[in-house]
Every structure is written in structure tokens, then in C-alpha cells.
Symmetry: C2
Subunit: 373 residues, 2 copies
């Protein structure tokens, strides 16, 4: 058996591992020796108040977040901030179906929720780095789900939050999208209920999943104007295979399914007995809800419904023809716009007073269990 | 073997059959005794200038077009107009993979193009009814493709045209959509390269195809606002199964694939050596290009690109939260809006002079062959 080398330090590093120990999951079960992969840039100042947490999206790793969202002279500048980029559990760098020890490997990996990721990240930040305040939490798509969860779960710790192109509670339309692309993967006989020989034997399923991302991840205008030509592809067919299929083909199907379920079930109102108004009303951070105008998965009108329920928040819309995957910085104008909004947000102050007092973990583990559906 | 009773007079009639004889196809091959199914309403006047042709969309039949687009007191009123609704070849009422005689049945059915449908309809109108002028051609989605083809192919015969939510040349994004839902159907092992035992054995493939229609056929807002409740479904799951899956499940997979290929290849510029500007420039009809604002398949910006190339045309946008399948009249306001636009169009006069003279068939069969890609 050849080892899948996709999730390597060479491809996605350098990254470090933080040992979460025996990590209990919200849906039950424990991952022993659970590892949280992260990368960090810049220096934590003496007051420990210059930390920025960046989360990762579906199938993404810390590497792309570093490239697209940080850099010298950028809004998130390692010369100014201590930047931690945390990889999702299940993304292939943190503990995941493809790298976990027996007996949890492959299809036996337990169900992981957005709340598990956020609790794991909280452990890293507080216990390892001693950070009690975050200048900013930011993430796109599933990273936005984690950002929302952070702002609701730890309202006094998060000073600013920027969920980009993602929802506090996953939308029914998005639920359907995930149904279709997971079915696409599972319809490949080589998937074999997750007991495939090698990830790349699930070739047809991965290609079909990728095609659904081509369909929903960009925009009608992107294809009409042949904007893939600007990123080096000379035809629709070349883009479809060379970009989207090529992106997903080296990945592990069980990892993709683990993250898909997590995404599909994402809902901050799990913390407030299903009441979304209460959940978002807890937020103390200054929030910029950022949407992409051509996004077919999370259009501005959808993101705005969350923003309207969030105190001290504003909606910002990025103009892009690249749809949801504009998040990848496929158009140069994306960088200018995201830096403008994040730069502005970083100058603003959150509310001073918290009606929840000064604890940093508003929902201790026992409470979370009470709030399960 | 039980006969598939879905495509019956009871379900979709009353409809009549017009015998096209041995009908030669643009892509080669002949369908012997090819039948064009149609229904008609109202009376042709003495001058034979009150005829309206209505075409059908993907998987649709004359029945739904009758229900949603015609009626007493409506813009298309059988008391005033002679209305012919023509079923596509391959839709299960006209000659199709499921009802053709050997040796063309099932997967052996030849490839049919939009141009074949339009030539077949032209034969019915001119040879059987003696109609030389059409007050209006109207159709939605694939019906819009036929409407565009009519206006380009027979510019002096078509006085007015209203392509709704469809393109003159199919878009690359739409190409991808069709790729994904045809792959979904074919990924079912029961499909067996088109040699399935019974249509309903391809159950999983049909459900997956239907789910992709749920994903793309409506809108994010439709699901966010739970608008399916207005048409009798109490949950997303009930709508997904009870409406969309239930709609496609009784259909014949080879019929669906025949129409899908036709849709995917649709392009009026086949008539002008691939030059879309020339093709649309030929149009003499007064044209209302009608788009639906929440349509994810054919958004207004896409429809507008065709409109801008069409002389004597105007863009009209219907406000609907039901997306592309707003075409089904899922919201009462659809009826008001479509009647307003069609009523207005029917009062307008087309251009008087034609630079192409007074022939009614601008592209005799031999010419079409020359213009093949």
C-alpha cells in the first residue's frame, strides 16, 4: 500500500501538532491522542492581546489561509499580530479518518461537530499559549461556521469576528448541496461504504463531487466570461479537470465525508436550545459579516439574515465574479477588498461591558451536553 | 413486464399525433413514422394569423404548458388565439426512446437536436394547418431554446417571440449542470448503459437527478423562507421527496438523457457557422426576452446577453423566489407577471420589412447540413 502523501508537511506545512489528549466529542465518543494541527506566524505581545485566529474551510488547510489571508503589509500582518491558523479535525492534518490510529480509522471515525473544533482550538489557545483574548477570529465557509461558534460560545474572549461567506446555522439549500456531493462520492462502487483500498480508487466519485463544486462553487458569470482563462485554463473542460477535479482527486474520501457531515449539521443555536436569536444575541464581538455577491452557496441575502440578528455587526459585500470560491483569492480584487474590510474591522472596538460577566468559557462541557438536540 | 403508464393520454392528454413520416435528423439517421404529439385550443381564423405556438421544456409535456400559460381571460386566450402546444421529440409523448419501434428503442435512439424539433413543428404548422405566420412563439427553458431557434430559422414567419428563462446558445454553466445530473442518472448500476429492465429500477439514479434539480431549480431564498409550505409540503425532506423526486421517478431514463443531450448542445449559431451575432441579427420578430430574477440556471444577466444581440427586443424580468422552476407557476404572482408581459408583447408590431425576402424557410435542409459544426 502506497501512503497518501497529499496531507504532508511538504504540501501543507510547516505545521505543528498540539496534543489534545483524549478528546471527548459532543456527539459521544472519544478520540485518544487527538492532534490539532496548526501553524503560527508573528509574535504574541506581552499583554497577549494581539492574537488572531484563522479557521479553515471544507477541504482546506492552514496553507491556503496563510497564502490568501495573511502577509506583510496585509491587514493580517505577522509583523503586527500573532496569527494562529487551526486545521479542522478531519481535514487530514489534524486527526482525521486517514491518519487516526485503530480502531477509529476510515469509516469508523466518530462524528465531529463544529463545536468540537472550536473547543479544541480554545484548548490550544488558552492552555498552550495562555491566550485569553482574541483580537479577531476569521474564517470562510466552514471557517465562518467556526468563527460564528467562537463568537457565540466564548463571547468575552472574541473581540472581533469576521465570518466570510458562511452561516451561523447551515441553510437548507446548503444541506441539499452537501447531500448531492456526498451521494456523488458514495455512488462510486469503489467507495465500498468507506472501506476503499486506496483513496484514489474512488476516482469517479471524487470527480463527480468535484463537478458539483464546479457547478455551485463559482458563478454563471465566471463561466460566461470565461474567467478561468485568467488563472491559466484555456477551456471549460481544462478548468473542470485541471482545477476542480485535480484539487479534490488526491484527497481522502472519508476525510471529505467527515467534514461534510460537520458542515451540514453546523448550527450555533445548539448552544441555546435551538434558538438562533438567543445564540447570536450572546455575541459581544464587533462583527463584520462578509458575503461575496456572486456566491451561489451563501448569497448576501442569506448572510444578512445572520447579521441582522447579531448586535454590533455590519454587513460587508465583496464584489467578485468567482462565486463562493472567490474565497481562494482567484481574482486580484479580492485581496484589496478583504484587506480593506479586515483592516477597518481591526480599528474598531467591541462592546466594553458583558452581561455574561468575565468567564471565558460560557458553556462548560456539562452545559453543552444539556443543549444537544 | 408492466407498461410505463406515465406518458399516457390520461396523464397528459388529450393530445393528437401528427405523422412526420420518415424524419431525417440533423445529426444523421432517420426516425421512421416519427410522431409529433401536440394539443390545440381555440380556432384558426380565416386569415390564419392568430396562431400561437407553445413549446415544451425538459421533461415537460403539453399539459403543464396548457395549465400554466393558457386559459380564458389569460394573455394566451383560446377565445382569441389558435394555440398549438408541441411536445418535444424524446419527451415520451412525441416519438421517444420509450415508445419508438425497433431498432431505435431505448439507448439506440438517435441524437435529436433543437433544430429537429423546430423543423418537425414547422412541418405540422405549414403542411397540416396551412399556417404561414405565427402571432407568437413562446416557451420556457428548453422551450426557450426552441423559441430562439424558431425566430432565427424562420424569421419571416415568427411575428413575436418570448423565450423565457432560456438561452439562444446554451451556457457553459448549464453544460456543467447537465453533465452532473446525467452522470447522476448513469451512476446507478441499474441504468446498465440504458438497457435497464424497467424505468423505475433506476430509482437511485432518478432520485439523485431529482436532488440536483432541487439544488439548482429553485433558489436559496425559496428554501430559506420555506416557501414549499405554500404548495403543500411541511418540510424540506417532504418537498425533496414528495415534489421533485416524485416528479422525476415515473419518467423514462433514456427519454431524460435524450432531452438532456439536446439541451446541452442547443445553439442557434449552428445556422450561421457558429456566429451568434449573425444568428440573432437575423431575427425579425418583436422579442421579449423574459428572465426570472432568482433563476440559478439562467439568471437575468445571462439572458440579457442574448437580448442585447437581438434587434427589436426588450428584456423583462419576472420577480419570483421560486428560481428556474418558477416557470411551473409555483407562486400566484407568476401568472400576473407573465400575463402582463405576454399581453403587452401581443399588442406590439414586428418589423415590417425583411431583408431576407418573403420565404418562410430561410434554411432549407441542405443548408443546415452545411452549417453543422
Amino acid at each position: 500500500m502506497e501512503k497518501n502523501n497529499y496531507y504532508s508537511q511538504e504540501n501543507h506545512g510547516p505545521y505543528q501538532l498540539f496534543d489534545l489528549g483524549d478528546f471527548q466529542l459532543e456527539d459521544g465518543g472519544t478520540i485518544n491522542n487527538c492532534q490539532l494541527a496548526y501553524s503560527s506566524f508573528g509574535k504574541l505581545n506581552a499583554k497577549k492581546d494581539n492574537a488572531i485566529l484563522i479557521t479553515t474551510w471544507y477541504s482546506g488547510t492552514s496553507k491556503i489561509m496563510e497564502k490568501v489571508y495573511t502577509g506583510e503589509g496585509r491587514a493580517i500582518d505577522p509583523a503586527k499580530y500573532f496569527i494562529i491558523i487551526a486545521n479542522q479535525i478531519g481535514n487530514g492534518l489534524s486527526t482525521s479518518p486517514n491518519n487516526v490510529l485503530a480502531p477509529l480509522q476510515g469509516p469508523k471515525f466518530p462524528r465531529v461537530r463544529i463545536g468540537d473544533d472550536v473547543r479544541a482550538q480554545h484548548k490550544l489557545l488558552t492552555e498552550y499559549f495562555g491566550i485569553e483574548t482574541l483580537a479577531l477570529v476569521i474564517g470562510g465557509s466552514m471557517g465562518a461556521q467556526q468563527t460564528w461558534e467562537w463568537a457565540v460560545r466564548y463571547p468575552d474572549m472574541v473581540k472581533r469576528a469576521a465570518p466570510i461567506a458562511g452561516r451561523a446555522r447551515n441553510s437548507p439549500h446548503d444541506f441539499l448541496f452537501i447531500e448531492t456531493f456526498t451521494y456523488a462520492l458514495k455512488s462510486d462502487p469503489a467507495w465500498n461504504n468507506g472501506h476503499y483500498r486506496e483513496p484514489n480508487t474512488v476516482n469517479f466519485g471524487l470527480c463527480h463531487l468535484a463537478d458539483l463544486w464546479s457547478l455551485m462553487g463559482f458563478s454563471v458569470e465566471f463561466f460566461r466570461e470565461e474567467l478561468y482563462m485568467n488563472i491559466g485554463f484555456s477551456s471549460l473542460e481544462e478548468f473542470r479537470t485541471g482545477f476542480t477535479q485535480n484539487y479534490f482527486l488526491p484527497m481522502d474520501p472519508n476525510n471529505l465525508l467527515c467534514m461534510a457531515w460537520k458542515w451540514q449539521q453546523g448550527d450555533v443555536s445548539r448552544l441555546t436550545n435551538g434558538n438562533l436569536v438567543s445564540a447570536l444575541g450572546r455575541i459581544r464581538a464587533k462583527v463584520f459579516v462578509i458575503a461575496i455577491d456572486s456566491d451561489m452557496l451563501f448569497p448576501p441575502s442569506d448572510c444578512e439574515t445572520d447579521q441582522k440578528l447579531t448586535p454590533n455587526s455590519e454587513l460587508r459585500v465583496i464584489h467578485s465574479q468567482a462565486g463562493h470560491l472567490g474565497l481562494f483569492g482567484l481574482q486580484p480584487s479580492y485581496f484589496e477588498q478583504i484587506d480593506k474590510y479586515l483592516g477597518e474591522l481591526l480599528t474598531l472596538q467591541p462592546e466594553k461591558e458583558s452581561k455574561y460577566g468575565h468567564h471565558t468559557n460560557a458553556f462548560p462541557k456539562s452545559k453543552v451536553a444539556e443543549h444537544e438536540f
